[in-house]
């Protein structure tokens, strides 16, 4: 006999005050200012003089329970038993006594974790699931990120970029990873291959048709069975038809490539939020270390670090120097694929006599 099912307790999102560091609870909404004593460490001072030091730590993001317990042990022995996670999966320890900062950092580093990610650093790459768990990934986001962070670790630790750099990866064009100053995304380049024998059994055809962003899918009879067909000229290879219809196989060892986009900036500071723009594509999907993608990211970072003024994010730097010089500086080709070609694309075309030489 199955055990008796009980109704779920629908509590939704938990109250954070029960898990919040007491000094943060006490000074909720009462902070006066912050300082950045060293990379990886923030000092927040409350109006009543209370102080809290935050130590930000990069991890492997996909945590096993051993690693999670190690992080907890450090928090109990050297911290004060409370942590906070950032949107980019860094873990933060809070302490109210300056004398605890150095021993805490030492314990973190001795355990193999990385202190950094604050202010003008290249902070942890926010990423999606990839081969470890998603159903339409063209690559393994966690592997790309691990390989890349190995090479960007000094930038994570040092905080000496012109402004903060947010990198994201996504394992398909749908781009769950979000906008980034630099975004490394997978680009499928061939339409899905359809296994017609399976479609009728597995796929709800109207909902697959509705899923396609460019109306490239039509219901069709193939070999006397109801199936689907794809207008390959229209298809932009996004893969959105795969989740509702796995017989529309989009994953492909040969034709899955990486593409790099730059200039996504979600802050309102100095300018309105911006979307990322394509700079490089056709980059081989080359596990286990993806060296080609990392090399381009490093080139972009180097040019940005040398060329940008203080406080300029990557999008602001490019706006100032112009795209022609950007492509020159990072030694990447400009192709017809860089020119937007949908209905609203004229907005992105140059309708002035502003020319860069």
């Amino acid at each position: 006999m199955a055990k008796e099912m009980r109704e779920p307790i629908e509590t939704g999102c938990p109250d954070p005050f029960q898990y919040m560091h007491p000094v943060m609870r006490r000074n909720f909404g009462l902070w006066a200012y912050h300082e950045h004593p060293r990379p990886g460490v923030l000092l927040h001072v409350a109006k009543n003089g209370d102080k809290v030091w935050t130590i930000r730590v990069g991890t492997q993001r996909i945590l096993d329970v051993f690693t999670l317990r190690t992080l907890c042990d450090i928090g109990d022995t050297y911290g004060e038993g409370y942590v906070h996670f950032t949107i980019r999966s860094n873990i933060e320890y809070m302490v109210t006594d300056e004398a605890k900062v150095d021993p805490l950092i030492k314990a973190i580093e001795d355990a193999g974790f990385i202190v950094g990610g604050t202010q003008n650093s290249v902070t942890m790459i926010s990423h999606t699931q990839g081969w470890l768990h998603c159903d339409i990934p063209g690559t393994d986001a966690s592997g790309v990120v691990k390989s890349m962070m190995d090479e960007l670790i000094d930038e994570f630790k040092q905080a000496n970029m012109p402004n903060r750099v947010h990198i994201t990866t996504s394992c398909c064009q749908i781009n769950c990873g979000g906008q980034g100053d630099i975004a490394i995304n997978v680009q499928h380049t061939k339409p899905p291959k359809i296994n017609h024998d399976l479609v009728a059994n597995v796929c709800e055809r109207p909902s697959v048709v509705a899923r396609c962003p460019v109306a490239a899918i039509r219901p069709a009879m193939v070999n006397g069975k109801p199936s689907l067909e794809v207008d390959e000229k229209k298809c932009i290879c996004c893969g959105a038809c795969f989740p509702p219809c796995p017989p529309m196989q989009i994953n492909d060892a040969e034709h899955t490539k990486l593409a790099i986009w730059v200039g996504g900036n979600h802050s309102n500071a100095r300018g309105k939020p911006t979307f990322q723009k394509l700079v490089a594509a056709g980059i081989p999907n080359n596990p286990p270390r993806w060296p080609e993608a990392t090399a381009i990211v490093k080139r972009i970072l180097k040019a940005y670090k040398e060329g940008a003024r203080d406080w300029e994010r990557i999008n602001e730097w490019i706006e100032r120097i112009g795209w022609p010089r950007f492509f020159e500086e990072v030694e990447l080709p400009f192709t017809k694929y860089h020119i937007d070609n949908w209905r609203g694309a004229r907005k992105s075309l140059n309708s002035s006599a502003y020319i860069r030489f």
């Binding site: 919040m20 943060m24 906070h84 949107i87 926010s126 990934p137 802050s267």
Partner: protein, 416 residues
């Protein structure tokens, strides 16, 4: 007990280098965990992952799994190569809602780890990009056991599928001097009002709430949330002239002009001859730049509230959309203010649920029907803050102009 390990020559290379390796973590579960079930599941997972690395393809497909009473919240995963790697052929992820602002005690993290190693693979992520704690890897039967156990001590599933999704909020008032609102309250009030819509997917598509306490928008709400709440203020920015002058003294006038004064997007700042700062608050658009540079001297004003932007989303289906300002400024002081925030969200979700096509995000619907129809549908008046500029295209009928003009002047008179 020793198990037959799948060789992982490619994954092994991800253990090199100084950044912590997720592969080493998975191997620890395979090699050192006392429970054989976990050794086997992670061994199988590594086998499949190595196979993906060799063949450059993914091998998971979806399906349907949920816990008793709910319709969503779990990402079901079945392996397409389960014959070769049988121990992880079912490897579902539970999306669990984190506390607003992502605060944890180590005690609670340990309790979650204990439950997860009892029922799952031992792999977990804080947090996925949608905001959930992601407990990665369990089979169908254990999904229910794990949920029951953590649900008993206060945790609930988030959303997956066409539903209200798990929300996100910045650290904000808990530790940030720029915070202009109570982020955790906005977060919890909004999402917990829609618990039923989180757990029983019945909307046209996903709907996300995200809350950032100021226009720095650390949660990336404008770009990624259907309903973005951004803290702001409408009176004068607070300037501590002594701290300001100390900064100018330390950094110099040229640095101050190059990095602060001339970077203001609306030229609202001026450095006076005595090194004091003059702010033209009428011109300031609250971009946050100058406050970010000198957080000791410059702070948000006292008359605080939020801006609400609707319809942000990522790529599928018509490309990326930013949220659009629908409420330029809203006070969130009294209980009535907070209730009306929730009412607005209800109004918007109801209108969208009735008018959207299947699989159409709120922002896409607005694009299809036009902002004005949307505003009329949810009962919000037009405001010049909603646009970058008025219309450019002259193809429009304007028979109703006079009535609309009267409405505007009536509203202006009422407000003053």
């Amino acid at each position: 007990m020793a198990i037959d390990q799948y060789p992982t020559p490619m994954l092994d290379q991800l253990e090199e280098g100084p950044w912590p390796s997720f592969i080493s973590g998975i191997k620890r579960l395979r090699d050192q965990h006392p429970e054989q079930r976990i050794n086997e599941v992670t061994n199988s997972l590594l086998g499949q992952l190595e196979h993906s690395y060799e063949t450059r393809k993914g091998y998971w497909k979806g399906g349907t799994v949920s816990v008793y009473g709910y319709g969503g919240g779990i990402i079901p995963r079945f392996s397409e190569v389960g014959k070769a790697f049988p121990e992880s052929k079912e490897f579902h992820t539970l999306r669990v809602q984190p506390p607003a602002g992502n605060h944890y005690s180590t005690g609670m993290l340990r309790q979650l780890a204990d439950s997860w190693e009892k029922w799952g693979s031992g792999l977990v992520t804080f947090h996925g990009q949608t905001g959930n704690i992601m407990f990665i890897g369990t089979n169908t039967a254990n999904t229910q056991h794990f949920f029951d156990e953590i649900n008993d001590y206060g945790w609930d599933l988030g959303g997956a599928g066409p539903c209200v999704r798990t929300a996100m909020s910045c650290v904000g008032a808990a530790r940030c001097e720029m915070s202009c609102t109570n982020e955790q309250k906005a977060h919890r009030l909004l999402v917990n009002n829609f618990t039923d819509d989180v757990h029983r997917p019945a909307l046209p598509y996903k709907f996300k709430f995200k809350v950032s306490g100021c226009p720095n928008d650390c949660q990336n709400a404008i770009e990624r949330a259907d309903f973005a709440v951004i803290g702001t203020w409408r009176d004068d920015m607070k300037v501590n002239q002594d701290e300001w002058k100390a900064y100018v003294g330390r950094k110099g006038r040229q640095h101050t002009i190059d990095n602060i004064i001339s970077r203001c997007p609306t030229n609202a700042l001026s450095l006076k001859d005595d090194d004091s700062l003059e702010v033209n608050n009428k011109d300031c658009v609250r971009c946050m730049h100058c406050l970010n540079v000198v957080p000791k001297a410059l702070h948000p004003g006292d008359d605080r509230g939020v801006t609400i932007l609707i319809g942000g989303k990522r790529t599928l289906k018509i490309g990326d959309l930013m949220g659009t300002v629908v409420v330029p400024f809203k006070k969130l002081d009294t209980e009535e203010d907070w209730e009306s925030l929730v009412e607005l969200a209800e109004e918007i979700i109801d209108f969208w649920a009735e008018n959207a096509l299947e699989h159409e995000r709120c922002g896409e619907m607005i694009e299809r029907i036009g902002l004005v129809n949307f505003l009329e549908g949810v009962g919000v008046e037009v405001d010049p803050n909603m646009v970058n500029h008025p219309r450019e295209c002259s193809y429009i009928r304007m028979d109703g102009w006079d009535d609309e003009a009267v409405k505007w002047f009536d509203r202006q008179a009422e407000a003053s």
